[in-house]
């Protein structure tokens, strides 16, 4: 390739973000530009919260952020993390991108960079090493939360927050220093949760979702030849890449669910109708709080929320 972009990632080598999503992005860029643009993934250049600096200072060309790792910086994007939406990660990622275009970009939370894809993992559930049968069982559970909306939901559920970086989740759960972790189903494979968190307590639509953003150095993008820019903008960046990532999340969730059911000693408990109704009330409170935060940025948060819900509900139909 004429242009080889350095893509920074902080996730474990075999994580779907690396092997499916970022590699998928490279494939899409190669195809769209007839091989003129390619990319190379570099692991461990900087810790997660420093990823945006890598882009701003030209140490890498593309990176992926987990917004929840930077409290205070990303408020508007919490919109997609809210509980209550029904639908796949694919639908959510597409809706996220559209909502960003139409509403959220105004807050300019990724300022100085070029946003090339937005995605969210599938519904976030509670994985525990103690049996959890009802919503009430969650009260007092020492749980690793990922930041963002998951922290607000955790407070409603009565979870006790434990802060550990993702690679330490296995150790923390196996030693009993934590009882549970909040993650999407797919991470059961990435973090070997089938061994240390044999119980999944599942809320249809999830307790929360987790927002990711793929950013490119604006400077690097500007330096590309015009035909390449056009090809990338039309065929890769934005909705196509976001959708591709959402599909990869859904696939990882499906794989993990199958592996969990096949493990024999793992159980997946789905919340009862009654508990779903109880959680809907909690979700309502979280939604009101977060939408108020987003409204404070001068965004019509309610309209944005309704647009996401609507897009997801009608997605693929």
């Amino acid at each position: 390739a004429d242009i080889n972009l350095t893509i920074s990632s902080w996730l474990p080598p075999a994580h779907p973000i690396n092997v499916d999503m970022l590699e998928g992005l490279i494939d899409m860029m190669e195809q769209a530009t007839d091989g003129k643009v390619s990319g190379e993934i570099k692991l461990g250049l900087a810790p997660p919260p420093a990823q945006m600096d890598l882009i701003l200072d030209g140490a890498a060309d593309i990176t992926i952020l987990f917004n929840g790792y930077q409290p205070g910086r990303f408020i508007a994007t919490k919109l997609i993390e809210l509980p209550g939406y029904q639908g796949s990660a694919e639908a959510a990622s597409v809706a996220y991108w559209r909502a960003h275009e139409q509403f959220l970009a105004k807050a300019d939370e990724f300022k100085g960079t070029k946003v090339i894809a937005l995605t969210t993992h599938g519904p976030g559930q509670i994985h525990s090493n103690k049996p959890v049968k009802t919503l009430a069982d969650l009260n007092g559970l020492k749980t690793r939360l990922g930041g963002g909306v998951s922290a607000d939901v955790g407070a409603e559920l009565g979870l006790v927050g434990i802060q550990v970086p993702a690679p330490k989740v296995y150790e923390t759960l196996s030693s009993g220093a934590a009882d549970a972790v909040a993650m999407n189903m797919g991470e059961r494979l990435s973090f070997k949760l089938n061994e240390v968190a044999k119980n999944v307590y599942e809320m249809p639509g999830g307790f929360y979702r987790g927002a990711f953003a793929v950013l490119m150095s604006q400077e690097k993008f500007d330096s590309l030849p015009d035909d390449v820019k056009t090809a990338l903008e039309e065929k890769v960046f934005g909705e196509p890449a976001s959708k591709m990532m959402g599909i990869a999340w859904d696939k990882s969730d499906d794989d993990a669910r199958a592996a969990t059911l096949a493990a024999g000693d793992n159980t997946i408990v789905t919340a009862s109708e009654e508990d779903q109704a109880k959680f809907a009330e909690m979700a309502e409170r979280v939604r009101a709080k977060v939408l108020a935060e987003i409204s404070d940025l001068g965004i019509d948060a309610q309209a944005a929320h309704d647009m996401v819900a609507e897009t997801m509900a009608s997605y693929g139909k």
């Binding site: 461990g44 250049l45 900087a46 810790p47 420093a50 701003l56 030209g58 550990v164 220093a177």
Partner: protein
């Protein structure tokens, strides 16, 4: 030249070559900011603090007294007692330098009084001190664990058997030394049974702290309904607090002394962190330049046998260990070798112990052996050459131990596999 700056500057120049000055200086700054706030690294000051508090409680002397009561009457007995006491001190102190420095103040005068040769007495302390990073807790194992995302708890537990093996082999080295030169270590007096028992009573605090820290890491402190399990940082915090309370309880700690200990720990922490940051900058460059991948590809394409590769890596370590400062050696090489070694199917915990054993060796091999240097500076009237001469049988036994651990990985892995 400060080693931190040497590595930092080389890394910075390399990064500038790879990505340009603006990106390089930004990466360096981020490393300065992020390394100092790394949660995992908070075990470092806490374990250092634990060792210093424990020492204020007079534990190093008691450890020596009990070892002497049991071993002193043999030929070379005081040197053997030194090794055993170092092993005991290593169980509460995470650093080899601190172990050597502490024990030298206690045992060097005693051995001289009994007519031990400077060679043997200094060598037994320098070598015994290296056990500090193998027998848990260990700052080096913590850093290896953080670098490679290997469980620090498992690494600690894995260090126990090789550490005991280390003590036994050093005892053999003492015997070799006195066999070659019987005047080097005359036998001391024999202690009565009641004297031995009295001496034993002095070491309860070491045992208590060791079981608190290691038991907590192991998840073995299960006193229903209270179940204590610690992360490494928590184990270090509990150990430091425990050591503080023991020293306080024994009435050997004033406010002024507490302050001195805290300040000394802070100073050592800053020293270590600047080396860490410097090495991180350098290894960031190595990572950026893609050296580990290129090496890996080379090995894969040459179809070398895993055992040949591991042998070569160990030989490189022993050679580097002669001339390199130990911590920097570890920080510079592990990011390169770890992916290769685990890629070949070797166990990450096992490799961590192997790396620590070669690091131990590096501490006492000429021309750069930090334990030898530290002893030289603490004792004063002794030459580096004398210590290096005396320590030769010790690092030779280390090589034998290394060989055994490489041939029988079971010795390393049996305890952590129970966790």
């Amino acid at each position: 030249m400060p080693i931190a700056f040497a590595m930092g500057v080389v890394g910075m120049v390399g990064m500038t070559y790879e990505t340009g000055f603006r990106a390089a200086i930004s990466l360096v700054s981020r490393l300065i900011i992020d390394t100092s706030q790394d949660y995992g690294l908070s075990v470092v000051p806490l374990f250092i603090l634990m060792g210093l508090f424990v020492n204020k409680g007079g534990i190093s002397r008691e450890l020596y007294q009990v070892s002497n009561a049991f071993l002193g009457h043999f030929r070379g007995g005081l040197a053997m007692a030194t090794i055993a006491a170092c092993g005991g001190f290593a169980a509460i102190c995470g650093s080899s330098l601190a172990t050597a420095a502490t024990m030298s103040k206690v045992v060097m005068p005693e051995m001289r009084k009994l007519g031990y040769s400077d060679e043997l007495s200094s060598a037994s302390i320098a070598a015994g001190g290296t056990l500090g990073i193998l027998i848990p807790p260990s700052v080096i194992l913590v850093i290896y664990g953080l670098l490679t995302e290997t469980s620090i708890g498992k690494l600690f537990i894995a260090g126990i058997i090789p550490g005991i093996l280390g003590i036994l082999f050093y005892l053999v080295a003492v015997q070799i030394s006195v066999y070659r030169n019987p005047d080097a270590g005359p036998a001391g007096r024999r202690f009565s049974f009641s004297e031995k028992m009295a001496a034993l009573r002095g070491v309860w605090s070491v045992l208590l702290l060791f079981f608190l820290v290691i038991g907590g890491l192991y998840g073995a402190l299960d006193f229903w309904p209270i179940h204590l399990t610690f992360s490494p940082t928590e184990a270090a915090g509990m150990g430091a607090m425990g050591a503080f309370l023991i020293a306080l309880f024994r009435g050997s700690l004033t406010v002024r002394e507490t302050l001195t200990v805290l300040k000394e720990t802070a100073g050592t922490t800053a020293q270590l962190f600047s080396v860490l940051i410097g090495a991180w900058i350098f290894s960031n460059f190595v990572n950026y330049a893609g050296l580990p991948e290129s090496l890996k590809e080379m090995i894969v394409s040459a179809e070398l046998s895993p055992w040949l590769v591991i042998t070569v890596i160990i030989l490189i370590y022993v050679a580097l260990g002669c001339v390199f400062e130990s911590l920097s050696m570890l920080l510079l090489t592990v990011p390169i070798f770890f992916p290769i070694v685990t890629g070949l199917g070797f166990d990450a915990v096992w490799f961590g112990i192997v790396v620590v054993v070669v690091t131990e060796i590096s501490l006492i091999t000429p021309p750069v052996g930090l334990n030898v240097f530290i002893l030289r500076s603490v004792v004063g009237d002794i030459s580096v050459a004398t210590i290096f001469k005396g320590v030769t049988p010790f690092w030779m036994m280390d090589i034998v131990r290394l060989l055994i651990l490489v041939l029988f990985p079971w010795l390393v892995l049996v305890l952590p596999s129970q966790m």
